[in-house]
Amino acid sequence: MSILIFSLFIFVLACFIGFELISKVPPTLHTPLMSGANAISGITIVGALIVTGGEGGLLTQILGVAAIIFATINVVGGFMVTDRMLEMFKKKGDDK
């Protein structure tokens, strides 16, 4: 089995997990969920690190650093703002 086929396997399986995970979410959480899922898509930062830290010419370095900056904004900002929203979600009687 080639690496491509193996990768396709896990890609498709992961898609199915993603479909199943979000099947029943109350409307209350649509905004935070969208923002949280968006932060996870910043995982591309891992790719940005590999490209930037490796051997490469000036163009590679520039593209890599730009990718790191973009992805970090997505990751750090995304998780933080989601937390800020969810921090405010309280049940009746919860402590402030």
């Binding site: 898609c15 969208m34 968006n38 690190l49 992805a71």
Partner: protein, 473 residues
Amino acid sequence: MSQFLPDYIVTYLPDAIQLIYLIATAFFIRGLKLLGSPATARKGNQLAATGMLIGIIVTLFDQQIVSFEWIIAGVLIGSLIGIILAKKVAMTAMPELVAVFNGFGGGASALVAWGELSKFADPSVMGNSSLVTTGLSIFIGSLTLTGSFVAFGKLKGFISGNAITFPGLNFINIASMIGVVVLIGVFTYDPANQTVFWIILSLSLLIGITSVIPIGGADMPVVISLLNSYSGLAASMAGFVLGNNLLIVSGALVGAAGLILTQIMCKAMNRSLFNVVFGSFGGDSSSGQVSGSDGDKTVRETSATDLAIQVAYASKVVIVPGYGLAVAQAQHIIKEVATKLEERGVQVKYGIHPVAGRMPGHMNVLLAEADVPYDQLYDMDQINPEFASTDVVLVIGANDVVNPMAKTSPGSPIYGMPILNVDEAKRTIVFKRSLSFGYAGIDNPLFYTEKNQMFFGDAKKSLQALNEALNDV
């Protein structure tokens, strides 16, 4: 950082990294699952963030990474910008911020693929499958970048929220997309051809703009959710280019989850995804023809004192907030009114329409900010059976979502939209500046029913008056 480790560890390093990636993936899956319930959502988000941190740290031990100066600089700059944006944003501006973050994420994936490509003097050594996924990553990532920023501009008002379109635009978009896919094929066959590469890049950036421009401001939340799904897909494609399982799996998770969420949102807004993408409907100005009946249109007005008595002696009050409440910055004052009523033994509930606010679920966030507990917030399906037993409904800054024409008049533009059945309650009070029409530009027969009273004025001032009047009841 692998160069600092002894040889006997380095031997096992690649496998160790993969195993830790697997752990990070598990964190993401568990995190997304927990994000689906209000009680555990915050923990879920923190779990996902931890997974991300694990993924990033372990990647630094990858043997391909030999220099760190640029990495440190990039991470510092990115974190700083991210922290400032996340801390500063007003909760009302949440849709814009998610759009911006999403754009950066998509752009990053395109840059990763391009960066990897730029390492090779002769790109054909990358192999066909890597070249195809490089092309796809650049395509999806770039269109996510520009599409998200157009969505941001529309939400912010820099670009008209109206559907900007002309005949044939849909055709041009579809043709361009097919064109890019064909060009990716050409690029795979002849990767050294710079011209093809540049056409793919610019066409992808352009498609992001031209496919979001024709969509109206009201549909932007769905568009952002869809673009969110794309940015996951772009990350996954970048994972194929680099042969990185963590990227492939996490990207696929977000891609699929985003698609489902998009569908859920469409359903809540009574729109089909096809309609949103190709329909060119949903502008944000309330022009348009109005065809109302010329029947008896008398409205009954109420005052703060009168209203205070009505709600203070009610046994059940339902509050229906709309975006007008948030615009008037009246969330905190409504919470005060609700608290006072509860102290008197009145049962208070909030009925939230799925599209209340500027994106699905937005009103819940805005009320949470004012410390309204989430178990007092009821979805449309939960609250609708309760109106019949409700004494007073306070409709604040909402209009179309309580318009009975959605049920009764097939000719109306909002016909078929699910609404809150406030007309079943014993009494409705509508807080409104004037008798102007709502977002959809149509009249609301609810205002003229015998059970309804209008409380004219700015929502915040009216509520303040009510709050004070309650002290004297």
